[in-house]
């Protein structure tokens, strides 16, 4: 007979790896935390709601950072929530100056504050790192546009463990040693070429792209955390001869495909479009106390151009709009959209 332990392990591992355990633990934990309230409306309903919210990605709102970063799904959900909630902050300038497409610029600290509105203990370090990608490691007080920050933040937050390993590899490469224990014949020749490059470091910045890619490919294979699809990394690296660490990060953050593969945010061009939310916002604006009619007319006019382009069917839309459909009849949403276009 097979020993039970040996058989049990793969199942358990499977659950852990797929983060099922994380959610189940968290569900029970939440249940315990709110037991008084939950007992009023039933444990079954609680579990339904909990897992529904996990599906919709709303479970991370105002949660502690340790939970938010616990799973890739949580990270993606957080990115998405951040985008949805503060898209208007980035759009602000555009709305003000009517048709001129001008984004609101904010500092790293301000973005950090916004992040903290969603997650009170969000660490400053991560925001700083993301800002460093945008600002290329200098002048941390500079202003950044919302989209620049958001995409850099996405890479930094979603792949943070991966990036740490990449940084280590990069440093090793810079120092001239090959971080991979397994030396491929071609990479040894690369190592030779690396040495003279070190001497003229002032003229030649960074590391050689092909060598760097080999290391990264290796890393992706054995990395247990999520990492960008190797094919896309290859694509990023194949365009250049040499590159620096931050150059690599910038390229990653600007890469359209990686954003899509990650699946939390819309394309850069559509970043300001979220018709359902815009509609909601109009409704809220109409409720501003003591608002005169003429006052509403103006901002509306300023807002319209941003909504007019047709919505591109973004892959995550069903996920994100699932709840919206509950709240308002689907037909009405479509109707308004058509009337606008």
């Amino acid at each position: 007979m097979l020993s039970p332990e040996r058989l049990a392990l793969p199942d358990y591992e499977y659950l852990a790896q797929r983060h099922v355990l994380t959610y189940m633990e968290d569900a029970v934990c939440q249940l315990l935390e709110n037991k008084e309230d939950i007992s009023q409306y039933g444990i079954a309903r609680f579990f339904t709601e909990y897992f529904n919210s996990v599906c919709q990605g709303t479970h991370i709102l105002f949660r502690e950072f340790s939970f938010i970063q616990a799973t890739p799904h949580n990270r993606a959900s957080f990115l998405r929530a951040f985008w949805r909630c503060f898209r208007t902050v980035g759009k602000n300038g555009e709305a003000k100056k009517k048709k001129k497409k001008k984004e609101n610029l904010l500092t790293m600290r301000e973005y950090h504050c916004l992040l903290q509105l969603l997650c009170p203990d969000f660490p400053l370090e991560l925001t700083q790192k993301a800002a460093r990608i945008v600002l290329m490691d200098d002048a941390m007080d500079c202003l950044m546009s919302f989209s620049d920050f958001l995409f850099a933040f996405q890479i930094q937050f979603y792949y943070s463990e991966f990036l740490e390993s990449v940084a280590a590899i990069y440093q090793d490469l810079l120092a001239g040693k090959n971080p991979n224990t397994v030396i491929v014949p071609t990479s040894s020749s690369g190592q030779h070429r690396q040495r003279p490059a070190l001497g003229e470091a002032s003229t030649l910045e960074g590391v050689e792209a092909s060598l760097f890619y080999q290391c990264l490919e290796n890393l992706c294979d054995r990395h247990k955390y999520s990492c960008p699809p190797p094919a896309l990394v290859k694509e990023v690296l194949s365009n250049v001869q040499r590159l620096t660490f931050y150059g690599f990060l910038v390229a990653l953050s600007k890469h359209h495909g990686i954003n899509q593969a990650l699946g939390a945010l819309p394309d850069k061009g559509d970043l300001m479009h979220d018709p359902a939310m815009d509609e909601e916002l109009e409704r809220l604006l109409a409720q501003v106390p003591g608002l005169v009619n003429s006052a509403t007319a103006n901002p509306e006019a300023g807002c319209l151009p941003s909504r007019t382009p047709p919505r591109v069917g973004s892959p995550w839309r069903p996920l994100h709009h699932a709840r919206k459909v509950d709240a308002e009849s689907d037909g009405s949403t479509e109707e308004t959209d058509e009337s606008e276009t």
């Binding site: 007979m1 049990a8 934990c29 809220l284």
Partner: protein, 724 residues
Amino acid sequence: MIPGKYRSVSGRAANNVNCGLHLVIQTSSLPEKSKVEFKLNKETPSFSGRLLQHDLERNYSSRQGDGRVISPSPRNKSSCISSTTNVTELCGLEMKTTMSSLSAFGDSSIQTPSKSRIRQGCHSAGPNVSGDHINLASSSMPSFPILQRSSEEKILYSDRLTLERQKLTVCPIIDGEEHLRLLNFQHNFITRIQNISNLQRLIFLDLYDNQIEEISGLSTLRSLRVLLLGKNRIKKISNLENLKSLDVLDLHGNQITKIENVNHLCDLRVLNLARNLLSHVDNLNGLDSLTELNLRHNQITFVRDVDNLPCLQRLFLSFNNISTFESVCCLADSSSLSDITFDGNPIAQESWYKHTILQNMMQLRQLDMKRVTEKKRLTINNVARKWDLQQHRIPNIAPNQDRKVSDSPQDPSQLHGSTISAFPEETGSLDSGLTSALQGLSVTDTHLVEVDGDTLSLYGSGALESLDRNWSVQTAGMVTTVSFTFIEFDEIVQVLPKLKIKFPNSLHLKFKETNLVMLQQFNALAQLRRVDQLTIDPQGNPVVNFTLWKYYVLFRLSHFSMQKINGTEVTQNDMIMAERLFGILAHVASSELPQYRLISILGDARKKQFRYLLETKGKKPGLVNEENSDSKRLVGENTNRATLNYTTRDFYNERLEEIKEKKKFCKMYMEDLVKEATEINMKNEALQKLWPQMFIELVRDAVIEIRNKSSYMKLCLQQITDQK
């Protein structure tokens, strides 16, 4: 003993006064003299007025008060009355300046003229007699009247001459009076100073309230010490080159735009430039004796050069346009300055005003007419220093020592028994420079509570304890402004419920040096009852550097419908912008959170409200929007952002700890569950795998067993009999 009444009396009496100077230039023993005067006047109030002091005094008071209201003539009685009220306000300080200013003219032996003497002088001003003795002849010269006095009068008042309210349009030619030392032309219509160049012994010249447009004709008056040119039309300070011994220069109520041509006046002690058109102060070097500088009611935006005045003690900058401390920072370098006024400037409206001034100007004895107590100054300094220390160290270490309660002198009713605090141990280990500085202060207070009018000011975190006190209903009701300085915002958050109860009328909150760093901290203010105004000083509150902070405040505290933020009126556009920026956040927070979390996030008080919302949400969406939009709006205004709240760092960390423990338990529990489940699953799977084989074996065994029917029957029967 002071002003109000007296002033009005003197004012009324003054209209008849037109006389010589008697007292002022006395070289003999002064106190006695004044006593005699005093008596005399009292007994015979109609005694021929001989004093000019009331005029003088008026001038000086006008330096203090304002030029506009000083004229005590019956023609503007209303202004006279206003001046009395004005003067009462100014009380103490005015007295002092009057005294010292007086000493500025006349013989130097008169160093300390008593106040009562001046007052009596005013009082005594009797009916006009001098008119009988002065003969203004306008005959011989075509344009200038010639003045002659009777010899009797000349003997009586040999060195003074008063030509007040004579409707003069030009200076008369004054003949045979070369020994004159005092000349008074008040309240005439003179447009040009002339015909007095022969009066070379003149010490005192009063041209108050005339129509002079230019300073001129004074070059020969080398001994002139007091020059009063208030309420004229002078545009430029000029032609004072020869007046080297000038002691008092009064130019209030003119149209002067800049300070110039005074640098040679090294004996000048009093300079009055109130009610002019000055836009700034500088070019003051050379005025080495200046003790008093009056610059009230100008349009001054910055002050320089004051640190070049070695004797300056009193500086009046009330009612100007000073808005930052930087623009007057040279004052901090003046070691002689003891009295200063800033009231009526934008700067005085700032929450940091008082303590910044006091902190930077240790030498001050009076600020805005209020005595600066040493204790208060030290306390504020001490609190500031402690705060700095705290900020440079780990900001989380809360100063938790017992502290001494000090109350402001303005509100002695609040005085409490104070306990002298032992200075905290921890400060002993700080870097040496600061420690030594602190040790000097270690016996003084570490916080300050002050009630000044409608403002409650709290300095230092210990001051928050004062909210526990039993405030009188009156005081509590009166306080509408609460200002926090040098206190961690997180600490303030904890006392907000108390504040709400103790000071129900507090509408204006001011924060300075409170470590406001995050937008979410503003969430905490939502629990208050009402906030009309919010002032967050950029100093020590980095959050103000964010472009979004104001909108976030407006958004999160929209239920207060605030009127002003940092002194700026909130407009409708601001409200819309705030909603535009953060409305979605509120919407997401309220509509997308799972219910169980909503309920747990909202406090018990709000639950009821919210349940209503949830119920309406459960209905058909279309109906909700139609029917309940009004009621929803009322309730939802707060609830949709009520989920955005702030827990202080300590509390949050505590909660995280708690969660951690729960998590540990959950993890173990889940592990067990999952293990059990996987084990069952595993067994199940094993069974599934083995079952076909087992089944075949079972069938085979059975078949083999029953293959021989008779032997099987036997066996069965055997078994049955064995059982029995």
